[in-house]
């Protein structure tokens, strides 16, 4: 009976071996064999790549994932957030300063234009003074201008000099040839001549 069983078992194993060899799934080791369930056959037949064959320890896996998460968030979210916040606050400060400076410049430019406009308007008529004083209508200093004339003419010149904002009197000397004053009720003609000596400056500011 034992002999019969042994022969039967050997036959059974030989049959299995020849079947597996036929399918080309024989093991490399001589004499060893693998038994696979039919449902698992396809899965094992799939080609294995490096990524599916190799693995990392689970702790290391979570370490890498969490580390990457922290680093990538710091680099891609934290740093841009900080950088943009600091840039934006700097921008807002600069913008406020820019606005203040712009309005200040505007006010100053307007007041300067208004003042210069008024002064130019008042200084427009230079012909009389240029002709009388013998100067040019160009900015600069004109010294030692000497004139002689009647009080009316001298008064006109003085009025012109004072009313013209372009001209600044640096030095003025006015003398009369009057040895003694003429009394109010005298009928004698007063032949008064005034001598005017001038140092003036024509400004280049407007």
């Amino acid at each position: 009976m034992d002999e019969e069983n042994k022969t039967g078992m050997e036959d059974f194993f030989e049959r299995l071996e020849s079947e597996s060899l036929r399918k080309g799934e024989a093991s490399n080791e001589k004499g060893s064999a693998a038994y696979i369930a039919h449902g698992y056959e396809k899965k094992l037949a799939r080609k294995q790549s490096f990524l599916t064959k190799k693995g990392v320890p689970r702790n290391l896996f979570w370490g890498i994932v969490i580390g990457t998460f922290i680093i990538s968030f710091l680099l891609l979210v934290g740093w841009p957030l900080y950088k943009n916040f600091s840039d934006l606050s700097y921008l807002l400060k600069e913008l406020e300063d820019l606005e203040k400076t712009y309005y200040s410049v505007n006010v100053m430019a307007r007041s300067k234009d208004a003042v210069i406009g008024t002064l130019k308007e008042k200084a427009a008529d230079m012909d009389f003074l240029v002709k009388t004083l013998g100067i040019e209508d160009n900015p600069g200093s004109y010294d030692e201008i000497k004139l002689k004339g009647s009080p009316e003419k001298t008064r006109e010149i003085l009025e012109g000099l004072l009313n013209n904002p372009k001209i600044l009197i640096k030095d003025l000397q006015l003398r009369s040839n009057l040895g003694f004053p003429v009394v109010p009720k005298t009928d004698l003609p007063a032949n008064i001549v005034l001598e005017l000596s001038l140092d003036i400056e024509l400004t280049n500011l407007f």
């Binding site: 190799k54 693995g55 320890p57 689970r58 998460f69 968030f73 943009n84 030095d171 009369s176 003429v182």
Partner: protein
């Protein structure tokens, strides 16, 4: 018989899964980055709308990146500061010039006022010396002798009025030579 510990800490996770997880984590981080950028970009757009007229006046166009835009605004601000300093200097010079001109006009106005306040019959200026530092005027005042004593003349602030000489002119008139001085 081989021993299999199902709770072993040496269990491994495939590299492929690790790759998937890393891609997922990076995708989340990149999404966060995009959101941050969008948020700041939208804030910049708001600023551009609110301050639009100012930027238009100054010919500034923002790019929506705070760092670069801050530099652009800063550069423009520096240009304006230089312009402001230049204008301030010009206005100061103008003010200084006008102060001198005002001083000049004030002297002649004060002289006219001094002469007008006098009750003399006749006022005759004989000499004027004017410069920015010190000025003086010599003039005669002639009073009618029949009238009462001449009232005192009102002298403007900052001036010194002195009588150089007095004389009677044929019992009809009283004559005074006055000197009005300004400055030190």
């Amino acid at each position: 018989m081989a021993m299999v510990n199902l709770h072993s800490k040496k269990r491994k996770v495939r590299l492929l899964y690790l790759l998937f997880f890393l891609i997922f984590v990076l995708a989340i981080a990149m999404l966060g980055n995009v959101l941050v950028m969008k948020a700041f970009h939208s804030r910049m757009k708001q600023l551009e709308i609110v301050k639009g007229p100012l930027f238009e006046q100054l010919n500034i166009s923002l790019r929506g990146i705070p760092g670069i835009d801050a530099e652009t605004i800063s550069e423009k601000k520096n240009v304006l500061i230089i312009q402001e300093a230049k204008l301030a200097r010009q206005l100061k010079e103008l003010d200084k010039y006008l102060a001198e001109k005002r001083k000049e006009i004030k002297f002649f106005n004060d002289l006219q006022e001094t002469l007008e306040t006098s009750t003399a019959e006749k006022k005759l200026i004989t000499k004027i010396e004017y410069n920015a530092e010190k000025s003086s005027v010599l003039y005669y005042l002639i009073y009618d002798n029949e009238k009462a004593t001449p009232p005192s003349v009102k002298v403007p602030e900052g001036y010194l009025l002195s009588i150089i000489g007095k004389m009677n002119f044929s019992n009809l008139y009283k004559l005074s030579l006055m000197k009005l001085e300004s400055g030190e």
